[in-house]
Symmetry: C2
Subunit: 523 residues, 2 copies
Amino acid sequence: MKNLKENAAGRWVPVEINGAQHVPFQGVGKFKPTGRRYGPPLTRCADYPADGNKVVADFKTALKKTGLRDGMTISTHHHFRNGDFVANAIFDAAAELGVKDLRWFPSASFPCHAPIIEHLKSGVVHHIEGSMNGPLGDYCSTGKMRGMAVLRSHGGRYQAVQDGEVHIDIAVIAAPTADPFGNATGDRGPSACGLLGFALADSQYADRVIVATDNLIPFPCIPWQIHGNYVDYVVVVDSIGEPSKIVSGTTEITRSPDRLLIAEYAARFVAETGIMSDGFSFQAGAGGTSLSFSIFLSEMMREHNIKARFARGGSNQYLVNMLEEGLVEYILDGQTFDLEGVRSMRENSNHVNTSPFTSYNYHGKGNFASMVDVVVLGATEVDVQFNANVVTHSDGRLLHGIGGWQNCLFSKCTMLPIPSFRNRIPVLVDHVTTLCGPGELIDVIVTERGIAINPQRQDLLSKLRGSSLPIRPIEDIKSEVEDICGGKSAAPELGEKIIAAIKWVDGTVIDCVRQTETIPSSQ
Amino acid sequence: MKNLKENAAGRWVPVEINGAQHVPFQGVGKFKPTGRRYGPPLTRCADYPADGNKVVADFKTALKKTGLRDGMTISTHHHFRNGDFVANAIFDAAAELGVKDLRWFPSASFPCHAPIIEHLKSGVVHHIEGSMNGPLGDYCSTGKMRGMAVLRSHGGRYQAVQDGEVHIDIAVIAAPTADPFGNATGDRGPSACGLLGFALADSQYADRVIVATDNLIPFPCIPWQIHGNYVDYVVVVDSIGEPSKIVSGTTEITRSPDRLLIAEYAARFVAETGIMSDGFSFQAGAGGTSLSFSIFLSEMMREHNIKARFARGGSNQYLVNMLEEGLVEYILDGQTFDLEGVRSMRENSNHVNTSPFTSYNYHGKGNFASMVDVVVLGATEVDVQFNANVVTHSDGRLLHGIGGWQNCLFSKCTMLPIPSFRNRIPVLVDHVTTLCGPGELIDVIVTERGIAINPQRQDLLSKLRGSSLPIRPIEDIKSEVEDICGGKSAAPELGEKIIAAIKWVDGTVIDCVRQTETIPSSQ
């Protein structure tokens, strides 16, 4: 296969992506970057208003002032998740200005961004680099997008910008509160969404930065999650987003008996291994099973009078309850998943906003992820080597982003509490459709039919000898599931065209995604 | 004069400093930098401990691990002002390791750093780039230091590091509280000194960063004024400094009737010009006159029921009182000048720590300094063109640093409340010994004998028409003072050797300082 190389995980991946050279995955911790962090062009105060007032009339004016032209890269952020109004507005303004072939570099996109498909079709947007949840992923899967998608973890996105792999011409930051200088915060204002950490890299490294707000206040905007010293223009709009939509379906507790059982197994695992001990730390994602895990865990912590030093968020009402009850000393939060999280971050100085720089950047001097005692994550597929997939379904369609998932694998104990099958399709497979996380970093698979511990973690296996928890070899669970489902998961029929590259946390290419044969009728 | 060029202010300045080329001052706002911000070498998590524990035994161990060798640059910070223990300890350790020709790049040095003179003599330290208050300045003035000193404002220091003009090999940050990952804060712990903003540039841009603390706490250290993600090693020491010594003699209110009169004139000026109006902003330095100004101002604000939106610190008990009384909505603080300032910063979320990046960096997208309605500063000399000197005395000795002084000149109204003479030597002169601030940025000179308004500020002159304040031409005040003192200030007798370059906020050379003929006996 031309232009493809086999990487250290045995996957054939592209080395030229959208005209630039990329390095195949070399193994965990093997790639050693050379060179220096990217340095954006020098600016000077003489070119900015002395009174600090950077407000301009509208997006079109701001885009014109930034020098927008064909082929540039515009970044946006997903703090509003499925409630964002700004990304669509920016590309509408760009379309009105007549530019073409833009690269959209969102920290993630959601179903609300489906209108961007029209800009892909018309040529305003050339391609998207960033997570594509839902319709955009589906569109990309059909092979209709001109460029190749590049999916990165939150930390990988910071790394790519910091390292100069992705040069952002114009960053657009939707800010629930801002001052005319561009200082901005997400924790207050009528559209408060919590924090703005995903925009940190963009503010630091983009050539030009536009802050959009629906709540302009006099200088100074305190706290300044984003420093106005990085900002070129401020645009006031009617509304930047619907904060109620930061709550997605996945942030509600599961009612499924199977998933409640999985969550309980996972919590018992953390307790019985002794990971749950005074001063420990944990992170649980946004899925319903993860939320239920947190509730079971908090009950066990209360019962044994154990307090955590910190929990990493995605915060939500349950984690906030634990903070306010004193079960958790600090929440180090990367993303608020509901409005209780927003309130807590605003009111409680122990609920601290973090960023992909502090938490996930692999090309830093350490990051927070590897200090977390246990992390609970999801997956669409896991194979018998404990490799996992989080971006494609078993039919090959690209429907999810990586989020912080890859970064969190560096936790001292990574657990995937997942159902053993979905819609009668086994989740445990021989080989994952898309490799997102190497099995050597994944320690425990928790299913409703049993718990599989990675054989590399003999320490965990020996700690649970004699436990009443259903510890089983992964192959056993897989066989049982195949019996129930009537066989293995069928490999999807895919085209030749590579529609997306999957980056590892260090910027190397760990896998790629191919075009689906069948084009969904909705597109 | 060889290697000297006449700059836009008519001063002959060196263009080669310690082997590197520098640009002569071109006028305020005239120099346009090209190129990009400096990017430090890429690092990766695989080279740092996964558990986040970066603690090493002592300074020698840390310095060895950083790869310290001859000719490197080590930076330190002056948050403890005259109570710092760390800088001397670091150079003692470097001396024990046998290295030579180091460049010391402090944010400022104080009399407590006099022991560094021995390292200058022995060859461990080649030269100092940074403010030298007291004995080190005096030593440098004698011409005994091998390299040329370079004095920069706080903002100019950030600019020089950011622009790559000064490459820091090893930054050493004394932190009153830190965790093993290197997250650090100055606002708490037994040696709490307030904030660590002067070390921000160093943490971001140095190749290697060492945090020294006498109060190690478990991860996470909240708040993290310095991000551990920039830190290589953490060293625990018995004591990093004496916080009581952040209070210097200049932070006590003046008892001099003349200076009280000056302070009152200055406050009345601010009130009568209408600068003092609801939502205004001000900054007053640490000198006794400035403190008295703040007290007079607060009385007038109370009387007229006027509240300031923000005050810039150097904070002290008087400014904290204004915040707590509600006369000031926010303190944007660059340096705490007493322990009440430290307490307030720790307890009050409206007392915000800032850095030279936010407040003073001229090679940013604006900074806070130009948004301040009125700033009150000191000076050692002022000439009839309103040019001012802040680093040398009239005898030519280099005894003071620039601090934030140059950066603050960009305020909407810059006032220098100064005595018209000191020790029978006129402060108002024909030409300042050393040019630190161009007259076009200095609006008002307030002396006990009258107030001189820069003729460029006709707006201020017209606002005060009919005022009972003693508004007088600067030449008149100067003549009167010369009559009292028995003539003009005598020009100092200086040698040919240039011992220090004075940078402007944009990195250009605005002036230089020559060797004094007479070597003080104390050296």
